[in-house]
Symmetry: C2
Subunit: 255 residues, 2 copies
DNA sequence: TAGTGGTCTAGACCACGAG
DNA sequence: TCGTGGTCTAGACCACTAC
């Protein structure tokens, strides 16, 4: 691993440092390998540790590095392509082991949720929290909001696991007419962060899905995907699979 | 604006500070207003400026704040919903003023691009860079890679504006059979950052689209959307528009 | 010129993981 | 116990904007 000596350029040190590190990583390191520790790297490049960390922050945001306290900074595996579509996301897809129910609550809707569901504030809403596992790892946490009116006359279960299953089965049975989605950047709050086994503030891709059935909004799903390890994929009709998924990044840089 | 006094909790100061700031902003500030300056805020909450900045970093990542050097920290407007679909993205949609061509180059493909296009390295590829304007502001920068084989016998224009138009018109005429997309988090490199009028390292949503025509990959688009101001929307068939876009955030918190 | 956010430093201590 | 990354501090200087 080269020595460095940042030239006196008008760009910030941490940005130049990032560029140098990208080159070094691509050339001399491979997935799973551990970088020298931060204090040594900082010394090697002649910068303060905080400045080095600023560069590492960037690389972590890009999914190139994972930093583990007590372990070190390791080269991350390429991001996992996670299909986001009706088959994968809709509660009906119980057959695919993609989602695992965490818990389920039934309560009057908060004003915000009511507004987004298009129902009266205070109307009963079931909230099913689920966890999406990919290759055995928690990749996304979801809150699925279902107006009680959309799944009327639920059996009077007491166990929340039973109610969750009941709600999901109802949705599955009635099917959906369509869905509309949005994706934006967010940070994981405490609860989500815990489910995703990450610290609070972890960047996430927030996927908001509206499921329509019988001309009404049947459910609203807010899913937070780990931005460090996930690449959301949206397959579409008629698409031709050409690329056998080449390496991974470095392509945007190569424009 | 309240005084603060961070309680001695086991969570990091900057995270607690973020929570306090979120509440304060939601309660006492509205879009466009300017927060007290960083030095004063730090003093008010009894923390170092760096710690305060860590909290502000989070809020900026969430799109709640925009910090302008020489001006101050202002409350950001809600994110703009940006439609991402065939009508908006496909070069054929010249009628919509969404995209503006920046430049166009014709050159042998780099190994990375060749691999992703499923062509031989060194084969000729046209690269059209475009800028997506929403409400007059630059929201996304795109590199559209088109194998020369997909648009054969282009007229021998010299001006790159003409060649760009020519390539796009060809694509438009032949139409597409389908497309497949992926979305992931990235940071803006120097060139993209300049187009987006943001500093290098700005977080972006990277949308990669494969356009298929006649059973082959006709084009590959890599678009980088400003993560701070954009919410990507994917409209779908049969979807029911229920929400008239309520306020904005704060809903995920309210789960 | 004065005020803002952006960068950078040198140091300290803490929390976690492995031995 | 030791080494790692995570947090926090107090201060300095720079770059940009407005006046």
């Amino acid at each position: 691993m080269g020595q460095g000596q940042l030239s006196a350029v008008p760009e910030p040190k941490y940005w130049h440092l990032r560029t140098v590190l990208v080159r070094t990583i691509d050339a001399e390191f491979s997935t799973g390998q551990i970088l020298p520790n931060e204090r040594e790297l900082a010394a090697r490049f002649g910068v303060a540790r905080a400045t080095l960390r600023q560069a590492l922050d960037q690389l972590e945001l890009e999914g190139r590095l994972v930093r583990r306290r007590g372990i070190g900074t390791v080269i991350a595996a390429p991001r996992v392509g996670v299909p986001v579509n009706r088959e994968e996301g809709w509660p009906g897809a119980q057959r695919s082991q993609a989602w695992r129910v965490v818990d389920c609550t039934t309560a009057p809707a908060t004003p915000q949720i009511a507004a987004r569901l298009g129902i009266k504030p205070g109307a009963i809403v079931h909230t099913v929290r689920r966890l999406r596992l990919v290759q055995g790892k928690a990749m996304a946490a979801e809150s699925l909001y279902v107006p009680d009116a959309a799944v009327p006359n639920l059996p009077g279960f007491t166990a929340e696991g039973d109610r969750a299953r009941s709600v999901l089965r109802r949705l599955e049975r009635q099917g959906i007419d369509g869905e509309s989605r949005s994706v934006e950047l967010g940070v994981a709050e405490a609860a989500e962060a815990a489910l995703l086994e990450r610290p609070p503030g972890t960047p996430v891709l927030v996927v908001t899905t509206q499921y329509a059935a019988a001309g009404k909004l049947a459910a609203l799903a807010v899913s937070t995907y780990r931005a460090d390890t996930c690449k959301l994929t949206f397959g579409e009709t008629g698409a031709v699979e050409v690329t056998p998924v080449p390496a991974d990044a470095a392509v945007r840089t190569a424009s």
